[in-house]
Symmetry: C2
Subunit: 325 residues, 2 copies
């Protein structure tokens, strides 16, 4: 038997476990040109909360997965291959070659890297820092939600891209310590301790050049406050606002953008998938050497998928949240 | 005798005439390497209101002027030459060659063009549309404060740069008619009639690609609302907010920047002075042919300088406000 997770109701604000059901189904059988994949790891991402507002009900939740081919009638997909695909929250999937990418298994590069620092969150951080904000060597970078999926990649990537100083904000003292110990951050701010603007200014006495924004609201306002002339803000999300009816409050100092000749630019990683090979070429040597880590929180078992998703929305993960099936 | 206008007090909110004095002084005498200029036209600009908050008191207000050399001990400046300089609100100025630029007098190109469509306001519009927003042929453009100095140049420039549709907003029905009759706008919105978002959406049924923002606040919010994917906002000022203690309210829909992958960028024209020759090369043929007009409101007499400035702040001008000395 196989298991799929369906969304069956829409959330009002924060989602809850009763909006999902685990459904047992017969293990699917691949047809001609198809392969059966037994999933190993499932990606759990903040954007899935946004999907819950308009995705179909009674169908599997969408998402990226990593699994092993256990039966194949497809050229190019051999039994034993590990593949990336997008068939969402389920134990087994039937894939066609054009919908699945075989990833290598090699020492030093954990498979979970393909769902984290080499996955959509790593690509978000890379695109935001390099292609949207155009981070230059020596510049000071600030990252919000720095211990999350995007942020855990962003600190390390900023370092590799030559940033002079990397500052992250996160929601607990323990996560702040993790940022500086493991993830390339020079300074970490626990924003729950209050006075974010003052503490950001103290962490960046000469201001910041680049802000990778996962939060909006008060973080965006604090970042604009310390932004240097011609600073760039790459904005990819508003984690923690997805469960609110209202968008994050707009920064009261937005007009400073003019005097600072600054740039605020939004981006969606799905429009930058063509940069995936560039990201891998850039990062794989550093993963192999151990200079970069795939920072993940792994929840065990498909039956813990919903709980892992809710935990991630509450910020209970450090690094990318992944479910091991 | 010569006359200079001094600021003698700081405004709280709207400035008033009693914060200025007209001072009679002996006509200055040029020293070696200097020339005496009798001013013909003085530029009146919104940014001068910002200067009033921190400029020196008891000295002439800063500003661009156009005058004729009446006495010269400077190589390169001949009696009779018309020069542009930055000696501010006064009837006569002593200039050195490096601080003055000789401008040609030629048929079809009024001297006032050098303080309007070829001046700082024209350059603002050009830089904002072409270099910040990177307007592409066929795109839809929205300009706020469209009958002002920057806006009166922006409509015509957007047209010349190949815009498919040019929409302007302004503060009266008469000015709206002027925008479509004379200044290259396809549609003009009188925002005082209310429902700016609805009327902008009606004017741009397929959305806008570029917004040249002179206003911020409600205009910025309305523009973000109708912005198309990958739209660009070039933000150069907040006319009408300069007299308010608070900055313009931030748009409540700012977070739409992310989903629309849009860009909001501030700029200061003074950092783009190197593009002046490019602007002139681009515009002069169109001025000579009559396709582009230097749209100006001319107030007569240096003794009307303060009143012209206050009138401009209240939106009483169409096109660039200029005082004829």
């Amino acid at each position: 038997m196989a298991v799929v997770v369906h969304q069956v109701a829409r959330p009002q604000g924060w989602p809850s476990a009763d909006q999902f059901v685990y459904v047992e189904v017969p293990t699917p059988v691949p047809g001609p040109g198809e392969a059966l994949v037994e999933n190993l790891y499932l990606s759990v991402d903040p954007y899935m909360r946004e999907l819950m507002d308009f995705a179909g009900l009674g169908v599997p939740m969408e998402g990226r997965s990593l699994g092993r081919v256990v039966d194949s009638r497809a050229p190019g997909l051999a039994v034993g291959d590990v593949v990336l695909h997008r068939q969402g929250w389920r134990s087994h999937a039937v894939v066609r070659p054009q919908d699945a990418r075989v990833v290598p298994e090699e020492p030093g590069v954990p498979l979970t890297a393909y769902l984290s620092v080499l996955g959509g969150t790593g690509l978000s951080a890379y695109v935001g820092l390099k292609h949207v904000a155009r981070l230059a060597p020596g510049e000071t970078v600030f990252v919000s939600a720095a211990a999350g999926g995007v942020g855990s990649a962003a600190g390390q990537l900023a370092r590799l891209l030559g940033a002079g100083r990397v500052i992250g904000s996160t929601g607990s003292a323990a996560k702040a310590a993790h940022l500086t110990d493991r993830l390339g951050y020079d300074v970490a701010i626990d924003y729950t301790a209050g006075d974010l603007p003052g503490r950001l200014a103290a962490a960046a006495p000469d201001g910041i050049d680049v802000y990778l924004d996962n939060v909006g609201g008060d973080h965006l306002e604090a970042a604009i406050g310390v932004l240097r002339e011609r600073g760039r803000i790459a904005w990819c999300g508003a984690v923690g606002q997805y469960n609110s009816a209202a968008p994050p409050p707009a920064p009261r100092n937005l007009y400073d953008i003019v005097g600072k000749q600054a740039r605020l630019e939004g981006f969606l990683v799905r429009e930058h998938r063509h940069l995936q090979p560039e990201l891998e070429e850039f990062l794989l040597p550093h993963l192999r050497s151990g200079r970069v880590v795939a920072d993940v929180t792994i929840a065990e078992g498909l039956d813990g998928m919903v709980e892992a998703f809710l935990t991630m929305l509450r910020g209970g993960n450090t690094g990318k949240m992944i479910v091991k099936v």
